[in-house]
Structures are given as structure tokens and as C-alpha cells.
Amino acid sequence: MSDIALDDVLGKGWKKPPFVKRAWLRWVLIVGFVAYIIAAFATIEVDWGRVYIGLDRGWQFILSFTRPDFISRWGDIWNGLIESIVMTVAASVVGILISIPIGLGAARNIAPLPVYVICRGIVAISRALQEIIVAILLVAIFGFGPLAGFLTLSFATIGFLSKLLAEDIEAMDRSQAEAIKASGAKWMQWINYGVQPQVMPRLVGLSMYRVDINFRESAILGLVGAGGIGATLNTAFDRYEYDTAAAILILIIGIVMVLEYLSGIIRARVQ
């Protein structure tokens, strides 16, 4: 039997199906991608000499993680940390309290159209603006200090939490809410007994997650003068005190880990 006849009997060998089915689209994507990468690399200016010199300093920094210096600037670190934590707590509380009514308003199955549009607008604005840009504007308006950071974080929390809460409310089981309504409940009772029990576990989980994010964000607000540990960290970098910077970074990572662990426990208990 010749080879061709054998192939006819056996059929073609199996080939992995491509990820993008349409051939022309696949090629356009590949060619466009390669062209973009070449253009991008061509326009980035990298001063390799400078990088080479910097490698030594980078190594020094990595080494400083093995001997972090908590002691010599402990006063500054402690004040910054407390300020970060205080901002996180206050902003999370206020943000969550405000985002609950806005979340209710942004759910199409609860709110009438005008309220829905206004609340969705607030959510969109809050989500589109970066924390750090909001912080710059608020520092310009309210002056330096943790108040600007507190307001920034509250504002960011509203966008995040309201959107996710509204989506959860829109996805809730309508029959339960209907049953409460049928028993003659007023609007508040309807929300309290028909809607709230359904979305509460997710609301708690999201709130814990947001506390976590707020703490991480509070670490950078100090860069623009909005209070918190960021200012101390920035100063440490500017003065090339890598030991202190390493200590601060270790503290931030540690606190984030603890928060993540706690929120994991709380979420597991609620759900």
C-alpha cells in the first residue's frame, strides 16, 4: 500500500484546535500584536548603563530585608501606621454606611428610574477617578493631613461597594421579597426582612475585602500629603535609608496578611 493510500485509511493526525477560531482574525491579532510589541520596545528608552549601576543598589535593598531597622525611626513608623489604620477604619465605616443606600438606589429592581440613574452616576464617577488623583484634589482643597485621606478612601469605598452590592441585589431571589411584601410589610420592613438577609453574607465579605484594600491604599496616600505611612516611607526612600523602608514594607505586608486571614475567617463564618 502506498503512503497516500495509508493516510486515507488512517485519516489525518489530530491537531490542537486553535484558541481563536476564525483564521483571518487570528492572523490579524498575531501580526498586530507583534507590530505593537516592536513599536513599543522601539520607543522605550532604557539607559542600560544606569540600570547596571543601579543593580548594586537594588541588591543592597534586597539585603536590607534581612536586617530591617525597626528601631531608629520607630516613632515615625508608629505614628504613620496608627494614622493609616485610623484612616482605614474611619473611611471603611463611613464608606460602607453611605454605600448601602446608594447600592439600594443603584439596583434596578428596587429603585425607580430617576434614583437609579443618579446612584449609577455616583458609582461611575467614583470608580473612574483614581484614589491618588482624588487625594491630590482633596489635599489641595482641605489641606494636608489625614482628613483628605479619610475622605478619599470613603469616596473610593462608595464606588466599589455600591456597585457590587447593587449587582447582588439585582441577582437576588425575588420570591422571598415578594412573600414579605404579600404579608403587608412597609418599605423599610420589606428591605429589612426580604432583601437584607439575602445580600448580607456577600455584603460582609465585600466590606472585609474593602477594609483590606483601604489599608493598602492608605499606604500610598502619604505620597501626596494625605496622611498615613506613605509619607514616612517616601522620606525613607529619599534618604536612601533602605533598612527603615524595608521595615515599613515588612509591616505593611504583615498587616495585609493578617487582614486577609481575618477576612477569610469572617467570610467563612458568615457564608
Binding site: 489641606g143 493631613g145 493598602r216
Partner: protein, 271 residues
């Protein structure tokens, strides 16, 4: 069911006495913590500036409007840089996140005792430090410029991508892996034909999602000197050129909205 007895009449209650006491104490402690936090913030605030804020805000608004539209001709290059920081950063991060994710997932890690904790540590530490802080650090090491921004975004994204990816790997259908193994495939063939096809949609979704976030983050990296449109923002803020600031903010807002739209479209097409 908790019931309150009043003579012969039984009244329904939502919680037992013990439960309400626990809740009451929880609220008490929560409010005390919040009040303490608020007191610290208010103590660190210059209230005169706050009372003056509406006037200042109004003043800034009149200075900032209308935006200086002709300044847009100088923003082309910074926008291109910002796009490059986000895209190249995401690509590098994905290349590094894939091995980390495979080492961190319970079902693919070579050693759950030694290698998995290291991979998880990489994920937590890169994730909990904001890209602005990474940029600050890298500028001290490799000098200011776009390259520092790319590396900062890349490092920050490793943890995020690897975390989502390893969760996807842990959730794969084990029977498919078993089937590939049963054909006598090698370890790498099992990886390529049993695991990768299952996580590919998740991978593409994560990549686009992170790219969207990175566009946001790269717009402000310039504030610390890491290239992109943030450099122009910071320069304009420093000379109080408010019409330019407002134009840059509008450009950033448009970029964020476009990137979110693209990411939503692509994710909708994949999933």
C-alpha cells in the same frame, strides 16, 4: 424560634436575649473604635482650612475651567508611554505569574511543604504593595523613566494574576487530567493537553482584566517620576497650571473608560 412570653400571649422576636446582648456589645465596641479613629483624624486636621474648603474648591474650579484644549498636542507621547507601561507590564507579569501559579496550586505544585509557601509568599508580598511604592523603589534603583514604570507594574501584577490563576488551576476538572495521564502522556504533555486548555479562558480573562487595572495605575505612576501622563500631571500641578490639570484629568478619564469598555468586550467574547 425566639419567643417573648407576655402573660399568655407569645410574641415573635427576631433574636434571643443572648444574641441581642452580643450584638449590642459588638455595636458598642465598633462605635467606640470608630469614635477613637475619628478623634485622631480630627485632632490632626486644621479645621480652619476645612471651613474654608468650599471657597477654595470654587476657586480651583474657576481656574481649571475651561480646560486648555490646545495642550493636547503635547500629550500624544505621554499617552503612548502610558499605554506601553500598562501593556508591557502586563505581558511581563503574565510570563512570571504562570510558573508561580503552577507552583502555588495545590494540585500541580512539586512540593506542598517547601515550594508552595514560597510561591504564596511571592504572591502576597507583590500584591500587598501598591505599584506606586514599587515605582518609588525602582526609581531609586534603576533611575526615573518609562522602564521603571514597566517593571513596577509588572511586579505589582504578578501577585494578582498568579492568585487568580492558581485558584483557577485548583478548580479544574480532574477527570480530564486523569484521561490524558492514562494515555501515557509525559508530565509536560499532561500540562499542555490536560490542564492548559481548561485554564486558558480564565487566563485570557485575567490578562485583560489586569490590563484594564494597569491602564488606571500607569496614569498616575508619573507622579513619582516613572513616566507616562502622570509626569505631565505632576509638572502641571507643580506650576499650578489648573487648565492643563483639568485637561489631563479629562484625558485620563477617557482612557480609563475606553480601557474598561475594551476589557468588558473582550471578556464578554471569551467567556
Amino acid at each position: 424560634m425566639p419567643v417573648l412570653k407576655r402573660g399568655d400571649v407569645q410574641v415573635w422576636r427576631r433574636r434571643t436575649t443572648g444574641e441581642s446582648m452580643v450584638r449590642w456589645f459588638g455595636w458598642l465596641i465598633g462605635i467606640a473604635v470608630f469614635l477613637f479613629a475619628w478623634q485622631r483624624i480630627s485632632g490632626a486636621t486644621t479645621w480652619f482650612f476645612v471651613w474654608d474648603a468650599p471657597r477654595i474648591a470654587n476657586d480651583i474650579w474657576t481656574r481649571a475651567t475651561p480646560p486648555r484644549w490646545e495642550y493636547i498636542s503635547q500629550l500624544g507621547r505621554p499617552i503612548w508611554d502610558t499605554l506601553n507601561i500598562a501593556t508591557l507590564g502586563t505581558l511581563i507579569a503574565l510570563c512570571l505569574a504562570v510558573p508561580v501559579a503552577f507552583l502555588a496550586a495545590r494540585n500541580t505544585t512539586p512540593s506542598a511543604l517547601f515550594i508552595r509557601p514560597v510561591a504564596l509568599l511571592i504572591i502576597v508580598s507583590t500584591r500587598s504593595i501598591n505599584s506606586l511604592i514599587w515605582a518609588l523603589l525602582l526609581i531609586a534603583i534603576i533611575g526615573p523613566g518609562v522602564f521603571a514604570g514597566v517593571v513596577a507594574i509588572a511586579i505589582r501584577s504578578i501577585g494578582f494574576c498568579a492568585k487568580l490563576l492558581y485558584e483557577a488551576i485548583e478548580e479544574i476538572d480532574h477527570t480530564q487530567v486523569e484521561a490524558i495521564t492514562a494515555t501515557g502522556a509525559s508530565r509536560w504533555q499532561v500540562m499542555a493537553y490536560g490542564i492548559v486548555p481548561q485554564i486558558l479562558p480564565a487566563f485570557a480573562g485575567i490578562a485583560v482584566f489586569r490590563w484594564d487595572i494597569n491602564i488606571r495605575e500607569s496614569t498616575v505612576l508619573g507622579l513619582v517620576g516613572a513616566g507616562g501622563i502622570g509626569l505631565q500631571l505632576s509638572a502641571s500641578l507643580n506650576v499650578l497650571a489648573w487648565p492643563q490639570v483639568s485637561l489631563i484629568l479629562v484625558v485620563i478619564l477617557v482612557a480609563v473608560v475606553i480601557s474598561e469598555w475594551v476589557s468588558a468586550k473582550v471578556r464578554g467574547a471569551i467567556i
